[in-house]
């Protein structure tokens, strides 16, 4: 469905580019949810914007790599060209729905606008389709809510409106960038449940970006862990949480409070991620890795498939002997 190969996004001059996303590759199948997890600044949002063709201009650019939507490279197309080429069936939702919605337009009109672009409908049929989309996202009282303004809705309802707008293009791929981070947990769980249901029912693939390992564990089918612009580990969700093989993945899991209930102290990962542009020849995690060896500082680690569908960017992966 969606195949991203060696995607590299860079800032700075052509002659001395700084790679903020460095050689990211992943595949996404029908109905599948791939979780992309990492901490602030690791490049996960830049990856999603590059895939969507929404990198801010001027600014970061795709220096290398391909984004194939059903086999067609879309990196060369502007978003409107994608729609015209019939390659517009990819949509995105963001963390803060209030900044994505127009505060002075009724939500019915905002959904209908997307319907007009993608279905070439206008007038009452477009509004009908908007109501149908609100039903799909389980908005309470959809016919009434068409005439509401964004400020009259709660945070969870606004995110449902954003999902309805995203569904207007009948997406094959939905990219969700921290869509529940601004929501309370009892609302978050409802939005996550809705997204899972939509993926199942519409056979839609989703790239779900988050910093929250708990959300990833409960939602994703497969997980890619990102650090300093690179995917350091990819695996099925059970393999990743059961037997993490990269030292960073393991560290991230260990420092979660909910995995340590009652522990006197939380394990931590010493230090901080490297600033973009300061990455040397060796492994990007070498400066913080507890198991670092001399070669890690000088040679880039290989990407190794440690078991079927589980690969890790590490010269000395954790041994998978003891399941957690």
């Amino acid at each position: 469905m969606l195949s991203v190969r060696d995607l590299t996004v860079s800032l700075g001059p052509e002659t001395a580019p700084v790679d903020i996303v460095a050689g990211v590759s992943f595949e996404l199948g029908k109905g599948e949810i791939l979780g992309l997890v990492g901490e602030s600044g690791c490049g996960k949002s830049m990856t999603s914007l590059a895939v969507m063709g929404l990198l801010p201009q001027p600014g970061p650019r795709i220096r290398a790599g391909r984004v194939l939507l059903e086999g067609c490279d879309v990196t060369q197309l502007q978003p409107w060209q994608r729609v015209e080429a019939g390659r517009g069936r990819m949509a995105m939702i963001f963390q803060e729905p209030m900044t994505s919605l127009n505060p002075v337009r009724r939500i019915g009109d905002q959904i209908a606008e997307a319907v007009r672009v993608h279905d070439r409908l206008s007038g009452p049929p477009a509004i009908d389709r908007a109501r149908e989309l609100l039903e799909q996202v389980r908005m309470p009282d959809p016919a009434m809510q068409l005439s509401a303004y964004p400020h009259q809705l709660s945070g969870g309802q606004r995110q449902r409106v954003m999902i309805a707008i995203a569904l207007a293009c009948r997406p094959q791929v939905l990219i969700a960038d921290e869509p529940t981070t601004a929501l309370d947990v009892t609302i978050q769980v409802q939005v996550l449940g809705l997204l899972r249901e939509l993926c199942n029912r519409l056979d839609m693939a989703m790239l779900f970006i988050t910093h929250d390992m708990g959300v990833i564990a409960q939602l994703a089918d497969r997980v890619s862990v990102m650090y300093a612009g690179r995917i350091v580990e990819t695996a099925g969700v059970e393999a990743l949480f059961g037997r993490p093989r990269h030292h960073y993945t393991r560290g991230l899991m260990d420092c979660m409070p909910s995995r340590n209930s009652g522990a006197r102290r939380l394990p931590t990962i010493a230090g901080q991620p490297p600033a973009p542009g300061t990455v040397g020849a060796g492994c990007v995690f070498a400066s913080r890795c507890a198991a670092v060896r001399e070669t890690c500082r000088t040679a880039a680690p290989p990407r190794a498939e440690v078991s079927r569908g589980h690969d890790v960017l590490c010269a000395f992966p954790l041994d998978g002997g003891e399941p957690r």
Binding site: F241, R264, R265, L266
Partner: protein, 318 residues
């Protein structure tokens, strides 16, 4: 009520007037909260946005004026007390280390501020030594005193914010979402620091957070708030392992768990909190509650003691 309580809050009520569509409304953010904090204890207040947890914290340090209720510090009522004295004893750590440090002052000046105002320092050297000692206590190199906030990472800024809080040796720290803006690996470092400081400085702490995982890590006791009221209160393990109030149950169930065997398989509809402008007549949780009865629609349940371990619940039906 509690013999060795350093902080005791009785029936605190706070409301704000809000103007909407040309009309003035009174919104009750805190609606009768009673709490006591024992010496050396960490009491967690957990709840979702708008539940009033931050307003409780801000009322204690005098940033918000309550409508009614009493707040006493070591047995003395603080309503009308001198803010200056009180703010040396009860200090606050804020959520956003970007917004709570003055961008145009050095870290050292911000950390020393409470001391400067209150004449703690008799010499320049003494002041520098105090700053250096406080920065070291929070795990920052003393050289950070000369830096500006923009030169620091989020975790370092929060450490600086904590340094500023502990400089005058307070007895109570009110921490309002102190780790919510931080990445998980940094969050763990700051939580460890707060646990260490609490022990070394014998702090009592009110730890306000929306995150039950974080609360579970640091606090001895937890109070769960919903729409301005405490709905359940007990020892931390009791609340997390055996929540009784239907709201606490749904809150605990909704915590994202790093466990793929607890996967979300489809739609879950548990409703949303009502608007603060339209507070239900009875129990505020009744419209979402799976076990609500007729009585819940009309009568607000009082917080009553349930069990021997200090648990209290505000529900007609459990």
């Amino acid at each position: 009520m509690n013999g060795n309580a350093v902080l005791d809050i009785r029936d605190l009520k706070v409301s704000f007037s809000v103007r909407r569509a040309g009309r003035k409304y009174q919104v009750r953010a805190v609606d009768g909260v009673s709490l006591s904090l024992a010496e050396g204890e960490v009491l967690g207040i957990v709840g979702e946005s708008g539940c009033g947890k931050t307003t409780v914290g801000r009322s204690i340090v005098g940033l918000v004026r309550p409508d009614s209720g009493t707040i006493s510090f070591k047995g003395t009522d603080m309503t009308g007390a001198s803010l200056r004295d009180m703010r040396l004893n009860i200090r606050m750590v804020f959520q956003d280390p970007y917004a709570s440090l003055n961008p145009r002052r050095t870290i050292g000046d911000s950390v020393a501020e409470a001391g400067d105002i209150n004449g703690f320092f008799t010499s320049r050297a003494g002041r520098s030594a105090a700053i250096a000692a406080t920065l070291t206590a929070v795990g920052l190199d003393p050289s950070f005193a000369a830096r500006y906030p923009y030169e620091l990472s989020g975790g370092q800024r929060q450490r600086a914010g904590i340094a500023r809080t502990i400089l005058p040796s307070p007895s109570i720290v009110i921490a309002d979402e102190p780790v919510s803006a931080l990445d998980v690996s940094v969050q763990a470092q700051v939580l460890n620091l707060m646990m260490d400081l609490r022990e070394q400085l014998r702090l009592s702490m009110l730890f306000i957070s929306h995150d039950l995982g974080v609360i579970g890590q640091i606090s001895n006791r937890v109070a769960v708030m919903y729409m301005g009221r405490i709905v359940e209160q007990a020892a931390t393990r009791t609340v997390l392992d055996d929540p009784r109030h239907p709201y606490t149950r749904s809150l605990v169930a909704a915590i994202p768990k790093p466990d793929p065997s607890k996967r979300i398989l489809g739609a879950i509809e548990t409703g949303e909190p009502p608007s603060l402008f339209k507070r239900p007549r009875g129990c505020a949780y009744a419209p979402r509650c799976p076990i609500a009865s007729d009585r819940c629609q009309v009568e607000v349940p009082e917080l009553r003691s349930a069990g021997t371990d200090g648990r209290a619940i505000a529900c007609h039906n459990v």
